[in-house]
C-alpha cells in the first residue's frame, strides 16, 4: 500500500486537482463550499505525499508530455518548492475553513472557483521549471487574485483591485519581455539549461533588469509597494490573508529561483546591493507607516510591506554567508505567511464582530473574543521576531549572516524593524483591553473563523521548534547551491 502511495505523481495531482475542483464548483454552485473544502483537504494530503516522495527518492522532475526540456516543459520539486507548497497547503486549508464561515451565498459560489484556480496557479508556479510556463502561471495567479480582491464590490475594493491589476499586469509584461530576451539569447526557456548556457552578455543584463523590476513590482518591494495597502486592506479578510501570505511570496519565489539558477553566478553585486537597500527602506518605511495607521487592516498591510523588505535583505548577504542567508529567507517567508494570514483572519473576525476595524475602538475584545486576540498576540510574536517562533529563527539566521560579514548597517535595520513591529503589535493589543468610547452592537463570530486564525498563529509559533527538520527539508536538492563558507 505504501509503495502505491509513493508512486502516485503527487506533483501532477497538486495541479490537476484544484483545476477540476474549480470547474466542479463552477458547474454546481450549490455544493461549492463542500467541494471546495474537500479539494483543499486533498491538496494538503497530496503535499504530504509529495514531501514523502521527495524525501524517499530525491528531487522530483517530471517531463510533461514525455519530451523533456528544452522542447517540452518540466515540473520540478526540490526542497524549496516543497516548502512553498507546504506553506500554500497549510494557509490554504486554514483560509478555506475560515471562508466556509465567512462567505454566504451568493458570494460563496463566486469565491470557491476563483480560490481553487488561485491554488492551482500557486501549485503550478512552485512546481515549474520553465520560465515561460512561469509566466502563464503568474498571469493565472494574478488575475485570480485581482478577481478575489474585488469580490466585496465596494468602492475601496474596486479601486484597490484596479490598482492591483495594473501593477500585476505591468510586472508580468516586463517579466515576459525578459523571458523573450533570454530565449532568443540562449535558445531555451528551461531554467536548468539556461543556468548552464548563460554568459554575461548585454542581453542577460537587459533580461535581468526587466525581470527583476517586473517581479519586484509584483512583490511590492519599496518603492513599488503603492498598490499593496489599498488592495490588501479592502479585500475580504480571507482574501487579504491569501494575498499577503501566498501571492506576494510567489513572485518573490520566482525572483529567488532566477537568482539562484540563472543570474546569481554572474556576479551581480550592484543589483544585490540595490535590492538590499530597497529592502532596508521597505522595512523602515513599512513599519513606520504601520505605526501610523488607524485601521487594523491597513496596519497589517503595511506590516506586509515591511516584512517583504526583510526577504530582500538576504540578497547582499548571500554571497558571503553560504546558505545561512537563504535559509533565513525560507524561514522568514514561511513564518510570515502563517503569522500574516492569522493577522488578517483576526482582522476579519474583529470586522465581523464590531462592524469596523478601527484600532482605537476595539471594545474590550480581549474578553469577548479571547481566541481571536490570542491569535493576534501569537502572530505578533512571530512578526516581531521574539522567541519562540518561526519569525525569531528567521531573523536570527539573517542577523547571524549579517554579523558574520560585518554588515552592521543591515543588523541595525533589522533591530529597528523589530522594535517598530513591537510598537504596532502592542498598539493593537493595548486597545484590545480598553473600552471603546461608544459601545457597538456586536455580532457573533463563527467558531471556524476564530479557530482557523488561532491555529495559523500557533503554527507560526510551533515553527520556532522545527528549525532542524525544516531546514533539512529545504536542503533537499541543494536549491541554494553548495555553501562556500562554512557556517
Amino acid at each position: 500500500m505504501a509503495a502505491i502511495f509513493l508512486e502516485i505523481p503527487w506533483a501532477v495531482v497538486l495541479i490537476l486537482l484544484p483545476l477540476s475542483g474549480a470547474m466542479a464548483c463552477f458547474l454546481w454552485p450549490a455544493v461549492a463550499k463542500s467541494v471546495g473544502l474537500v479539494t483543499v483537504s486533498m491538496l494538503a494530503l497530496s503535499v504530504a505525499g509529495l514531501v514523502w516522495q521527495v524525501m524517499e527518492y530525491g528531487v522530483y522532475r517530471h517531463a510533461v508530455g514525455g519530451w523533456g526540456a528544452p522542447l517540452g516543459i518540466d515540473l520540478y520539486a526540490d526542497g524549496l518548492s516543497l516548502l512553498m507548497l507546504a506553506m500554500t497547503a497549510l494557509v490554504g486549508l486554514a483560509v478555506s475553513i475560515y471562508a466556509t464561515g465567512y462567505f454566504e451565498q451568493p458570494h460563496a459560489a463566486r469565491f470557491w472557483p476563483l480560490w481553487l484556480l488561485l491554488l492551482a496557479a500557486l501549485n503550478a508556479l512552485f512546481l515549474a521549471a520553465d520560465i515561460f510556463n512561469l509566466y502563464v502561471t503568474l498571469e493565472l495567479m494574478g488575475l485570480a487574485a485581482v478577481a478575489l480582491s474585488a469580490l466585496s464590490g465596494s468602492r475601496d475594493a474596486l479601486g484597490g483591485a484596479m490598482r492591483y491589476l495594473l501593477a500585476t499586469l505591468l510586472g508580468s509584461l516586463a517579466y515576459l519581455f525578459g523571458v523573450a530576451l533570454l530565449y532568443h539569447g540562449f535558445g531555451s526557456v528551461d531554467m536548468a539549461i539556461l543556468g548552464q548556457r548563460l554568459e554575461a552578455t548585454p542581453i542577460v543584463w537587459a533580461a535581468l533588469a526587466l525581470m527583476t523590476t517586473g517581479l519586484a513590482l509584483k512583490t511590492a518591494l519599496f518603492p513599488f509597494h503603492f498598490w499593496l495597502p489599498p488592495a490588501h486592506a479592502s479585500a475580504p479578510a480571507p482574501v487579504s490573508a491569501v494575498l499577503s501570505a501566498l501571492v506576494v511570496k510567489a513572485s518573490f519565489y520566482i525572483l529567488l529561483r532566477l537568482w539562484l539558477e540563472i543570474f546569481g553566478p554572474l556576479g551581480v553585486e550592484g543589483v544585490e546591493t540595490l535590492l538590499g537597500l530597497l529592502g532596508a527602506a521597505a522595512v523602515l518605511w513599512g513599519s513606520v507607516q504601520a505605526l501610523r495607521q488607524t485601521r487594523l487592516k491597513l496596519l497589517v498591510a503595511y506590516s506586509t510591506v515591511a516584512q517583504i523588505g526583510y526577504l530582500f535583505l538576504a540578497f547582499p548577504l548571500a554571497a558571503g554567508s553560504g546558505i545561512t542567508a537563504w535559509n533565513a529567507v525560507a524561514y522568514l517567508a514561511l513564518s510570515h505567511a502563517l503569522a500574516k494570514a492569522a493577522m488578517f483572519l483576526v482582522a476579519g473576525n474583529l470586522l465581523r464582530f464590531g462592524g469596523h476595524d478601527r484600532i482605537a475602538d476595539l471594545d474590550r475584545v480581549v474578553q469577548r473574543l479571547p481566541l481571536t486576540v490570542t491569535a493576534f498576540a501569537l502572530a505578533g510574536v512571530s512578526i516581531m521576531g521574539l522567541p519562540p517562533s518561526g519569525g525569531f529563527i528567521g531573523k536570527w539566521l539573517l542577523l547571524e549572516a549579517a554579523l558574520q560579514q560585518g554588515r552592521w548597517d543591515l543588523a541595525v535595520v533589522m533591530m529597528l524593524g523589530g522594535l517598530l513591529a513591537a510598537g504596532y503589535v502592542f498598539k493593537v493589543l493595548g486597545f484590545a483591553f480598553t473600552q471603546a468610547g461608544v459601545p457597538h452592537e456586536s455580532k457573533t463570530v463563527p467558531a471556524s473563523m476564530e479557530w482557523a486564525a488561532l491555529l495559523l498563529a500557533v503554527a507560526a509559533i510551533v515553527l520556532g521548534f522545527l528549525a532542524a527538520p525544516l531546514l533539512a527539508l529545504v536542503g533537499i536538492g541543494a536549491p541554494f547551491g553548495i555553501s562556500e563558507v562554512a557556517p
Partner: protein
C-alpha cells in the same frame, strides 16, 4: 533580385513606422472613440506585420482576437462608460500643471534610455540562431500534426495551453463575479439583423475549416474559436440572447468543456503512460483534434460571454 529586396525593405519600413505612428496616435488622441478605432487599425496592421514575419497562425489570431474581439470589447466598454457618465455627475480632476510636466519629462528620459539599452541588447544578438526549430522539426512526425505551431501548442507545450484555457475561464469567472454591467437595450435595425443571419453560418463554417485545417496548415483551435466568438458577438449585437433554460448548466458545461476535456485527457495520459499529457504517436493526431474541437467551442462561447459581460439572469438595464 535587387528591386524585390528594395521593395521589401520599403514595405517593412512603412509597416514598422506605421505601427509606431498608429500606436502613438491611438495613445495620444484626446477623443477616446478615435483612440479605440486607431487601436483597431493598429491591430490590423500588426496582423500584416505577422504575415511579413512568416507567422500566419499569429496573423489569424491577431486579426480575430487582437484587433477584432479586443476592439469589440473596447467599443462596448466605451459605450457603457459614456452611458454611466451621462447618468451620473462627471467629476473633472484638477490639473497640476507643473508637477505633471516634470514627471512626464522624467518618465520620458528614463524610458528613452531604457529603449536605447534594450535596442543595444537586442542588436548584440547573433544574426542567426536556430532556437528550438531543429528539435521541433525532428519530433514533428511523432507529434501527430503537420503544422509546427500546432504541434508546439498542443503537444510539446500542451501544459501551457492547458493553463491558458484556465486563464480564459478564469477571466469569465472574474467578470461574472463582479456582478455584471448594465447592458444597453439592443435595438437591432434590419441591416444588422440581416447581416447577423447571413454571416453567422458563414463564420461557423470558417471556424470549422480553420479547426480542421489547423493540423497541417495555419489555423487551429484559438483561431477557430475566436471566429466562433466573433459570430457570438454578432448575434449578441443583433439582440439574440440565450434561452433561460439553456443559460445555467448547459452554458456552464460549454464554457468548462475546453479546459475540462484537457484535464480529462491529462489524467488519462497520466494513468496510461505515467507522464502527464504524453500522447502516444499513433493516437496523437486524434487526441489533438478532439482537444482542439472542444476547445474551439469553449473559446468561442467564452469570448462571446466576455463580450456580454453579464452573468445569465442579470437584469439591470441602462
Amino acid at each position: 533580385m535587387e528591386a524585390l529586396g528594395l521593395l521589401q525593405w520599403c514595405l517593412d519600413g512603412l509597416l514598422g513606422l506605421g505601427l509606431l505612428w498608429l500606436a502613438w496616435r491611438a495613445l495620444a488622441c484626446s477623443d477616446l472613440f478615435k483612440a479605440v478605432v486607431l487601436f483597431i487599425a493598429f491591430g490590423l496592421l500588426m496582423a500584416l506585420a505577422w504575415v511579413r514575419l512568416e507567422a500566419p497562425d499569429i496573423a489569424l489570431a491577431e486579426a480575430a482576437i487582437g484587433a477584432g474581439l479586443t476592439g469589440a470589447l473596447l467599443l462596448s466598454a466605451l459605450a457603457r462608460l459614456r452611458a454611466i457618465q451621462a447618468n451620473g455627475t462627471i467629476v473633472i480632476p484638477a490639473q497640476q500643471a507643473a508637477k505633471v510636466q516634470l514627471s512626464r519629462w522624467l518618465a520620458g528620459t528614463i524610458l528613452l534610455s531604457a529603449a536605447i539599452g534594450l535596442g543595444y541588447a537586442i542588436t548584440s544578438l547573433p544574426p542567426e540562431a536556430a532556437g528550438l526549430s531543429a528539435e521541433v522539426t525532428a519530433n514533428l512526425a511523432a507529434s501527430g500534426v503537420g503544422n509546427p505551431v500546432t504541434a508546439v501548442l498542443l503537444n510539446f507545450r500542451a501544459y501551457d495551453t492547458l493553463l491558458e484555457m484556465a486563464v480564459l475561464l478564469l477571466a469569465l469567472l472574474a467578470v461574472w463575479s463582479l456582478d455584471g454591467l448594465p447592458t444597453a437595450e439592443a435595438a437591432a435595425g434590419p441591416v444588422l439583423d440581416t447581416l447577423a443571419r447571413l454571416l453567422t453560418p458563414v463564420l461557423i463554417l470558417v471556424a470549422a475549416y480553420l479547426l480542421w485545417v489547423g493540423a497541417d496548415a495555419p489555423g487551429g483551435a484559438f483561431q477557430a474559436g475566436s471566429v466562433l466568438g466573433a459570430a457570438g458577438v454578432l448575434l449578441l449585437l443583433a439582440g439574440w440572447r440565450l434561452q433561460p433554460s439553456l443559460a445555467q448548466l448547459p452554458l456552464r458545461l460549454a464554457l468548462v468543456a475546453g479546459s475540462g476535456t484537457f484535464v480529462v485527457i491529462a489524467l488519462l495520459t497520466l494513468l496510461s503512460t505515467g507522464r502527464l499529457l504524453a500522447f502516444p504517436p499513433a493516437q496523437a493526431g486524434t487526441l489533438i483534434l478532439i482537444l482542439e474541437a472542444v476547445a474551439t467551442v469553449s473559446i468561442g462561447v467564452t469570448l462571446a460571454a466576455l463580450f456580454l459581460a453579464a452573468p445569465p439572469g442579470h437584469k439591470e438595464k441602462l
